[in-house]
Amino acid sequence: MPTNSSIIACNITKRYGEKLALDAISFDVQKGELFGFIGPDGAGKTSLFRIITTLLIPDNGSITVEGLDTVKDYVKLRKILGYMPGKFSLYQDLTVEENLRFFAGIFKTTPEANYNLVKDIYSQIEPFKNRKAGKLSGGMKQKLALSCALIHKPEVLILDEPTTGVDAVSRIEFWEMLAKLRANGITIVVSTPYMDEASRCDRVALIQNGSIMDIATPEGIRSNYKRDLWAVKAYDIYRLLIDLRKFKSTWTAFPFGENIHLSLKNENTNPSEIVAYLQAAGHQNVQVSKIEPSVEDCFMELMQGVKSE
C-alpha cells in the first residue's frame, strides 16, 4: 500500500433496493491532491461521497481515508474530515458569523483558532457577517459553506457539487480558492457536473451510471481521445446538427455553444468533403476547423462507447 495515498477505495458497491447506484468502484487519491469526480446528475457522485464521509455503509467493498476505515473507524475519521454536502447546509436563520461559530463549536474549536486557514475565503464575506445565511447570494453561501467546512482544519476536504447553482464568476473564484487550499497540503475531493471544471483538478474520474469510465489527469483524458475532432459552424445551427447526424461518415455530432463538435468514422475524410456535403444541403457560412478535444468531448465519446457496446 503506497503511503502517500490519502483515500483508497476498493470495489465500492451500493444499491438502493433494485437500483445499482455504485458498481464496484475503485480508485485512490494521493495526499495533497485535488481530485475531481465528473459526471452528470444521478451518476452516483453523492452516494460515493456519503460513503467516503461515513454517512452511508457500502454494500460491498471498503474505503480508507488517511488509513481509517469509513465503517469501523468512523468516530476517528469524522474528526479529520471536512464535508460540504450538495445542498448548502447552513442554518438559514443564523447569521454568517453565528454559522461559522457554531460549526467551529461542534468541532471543539473557535473561528479565531484556525482563522488563517479560512482568512482568504471568509474575509470576502466578513462585511456581511451579521446577515442571515438565508439572505446571501449563491456565491456567498458557497464561500460560507466552505469556510464552515474548513474551520476545524480538516486533513481531507470532501465537496459535493460545490459549484452547482453558483454564477460563473463565483465558480472561477471558488476553484482559485481550492487551488490555494491544495497548496496548504489539504487533500481535496470534489464533484461537479461541469466538464469545463475538470482542467482545474490534478486528476479526474469520469463517472457515469455508478461506474468510473476513466481516471487520469485532464491532459491524460484528452490524449485518450483518438479521433480527429472538427468544429463545424453554419448559419442555421439546429438544421446543421440534424444534417450532420445524417452524414454518412459521422461518428458523433454534439452541439457545443455555437459550434458542433463532429468526429468521423473514417479518419481519412477531408474537411472539404464535409463542407461540400453541407453546402449541397443548402447551408450558408459553413466553417470547419480542426480542434483539440476537451474533457467533455472525451466524456461524450466514452458514453458513446458504453451505449454502442
Partner: protein, 365 residues
Amino acid sequence: MKGFIIKEFYHIFRDFRSMIVLFGMPVVQVLLFGFALSTEVKNAPVAIIDHSNDQVTRAITSKLLSSGFFILSDEVHGEDHIEEVFRHGKVKEVIIFESNFASNLEKDRQAAIQVIADASDPNTANLLVNYTSAIVADYQQEYMKGLSLPVAITTESQMMYNPALKSVFMFVPGVITILLMLITAMMTSISIAREKEMGTMEILLVSPMRPMQIIAGKVIPYVLLAFANAVTILLLSYFVLGMPVKGSLLLMLAESLLFIVMALSLGIFISTVSKSQQMAMMLSMFALMLPTILLSGFIFPIENMPLPLQLISNIMPPRWFIIIVKSIMIKGLGFQYIWKETLIIAGMTLFFIALSVKKFKIRLE
C-alpha cells in the same frame, strides 16, 4: 455543547411560528378552556309545570329561579306542549311537580319532581339536570331542618353552586398536560426533522458530536422554555381563573419538569422515525394529541371506557400526569400519594430516552 444550545435558542426566537406555538398557544388555550369552553350555564330558559301549586313547590320554584342558572319561560301550559317548545329551542329544561306535592311530602315523606331536559346539547342538559337536582336536594335539607334556620343555608348553597369554578378545576389539569405534551414533543420533533430536511444533519453527523450530545443540545432549550410555559400556565390559572394550588407548589413544578422531560424524549423518538417536518408534525398531532385528549381521562372518564381502551390508557403518559396535577392542585396531597404515578412517568422517560439514543442514526440510513 454550549454553542449548540445557543444556536437552538436562535432558531426558536427567530422563528415567528415557533414563538406563537410556544408562547401564544398556552395563553390562548388556558383562557379558552377557562372562559369560553367553561361548562357553566347561566340564565337557561326553563318551564315549570306545577300541578300542585302549594307552598313547597312555590318555594322550590323560587329557589330555582333565584339561583341565577334559570329564568322562567312561561311558554308551556301542559305536558302536551313540551315536545313542541323543545323543538323550537325556546326552553332548555322543563320541571314538572306532581299534584299534591306538599301533602305527599308530609304524609309519605316523598314527592316526585320530573325534570326533562333538551339533550340535543348533552353537556348543557346534563348540567341543568344536575343544578336542578342539587337545588332540590338543598331545599330538601332545608325542609327537614325546619323553616327556622334559613340563614345557615344560604352560605352552604354558595359553596355548592359554583359550577364555573368546578369546570376550571376539571379543565386546568388537562390543559396543562396537553399543552406541555404537545408543545414540547412537537417542537423538538419538528426541530430535529428540520435539520434532516435542510441537510444540516449531514454535517452534524460528520462531526465528532455523539448522538447523546446532539440530543441534549436539542432538548435543553426546550426544557427551559417548556418549564417557563408551565409556570405561565400555572400563574394564569391561579390569577385569572382562580384555580387554587392546595398542595406544594415546589412539588407541582418538579412534577411538571419530569413530565416535560418525558414529553421531550417522546418528541425525540418521533423525530428519529420521521424524515420530514410534515411527518413529525403529523405524528405528534395524531399520535399524541388525540390519545392525550381522548384517553387520558381529561374529557372522558377512564372508568367509563371499555376495558381495551382502559388498558390502552395505561400507557398514555398524560393519564398519570393528570392524576398528579389533580392530586396536588385540587386535593392538596403530598408526594407520598403520587409516588406511584411519578415513578411511572420517570420510567417512561427513561424508556423513550434509551429508545431514542438507540434509534438515533449515526449515519444517513
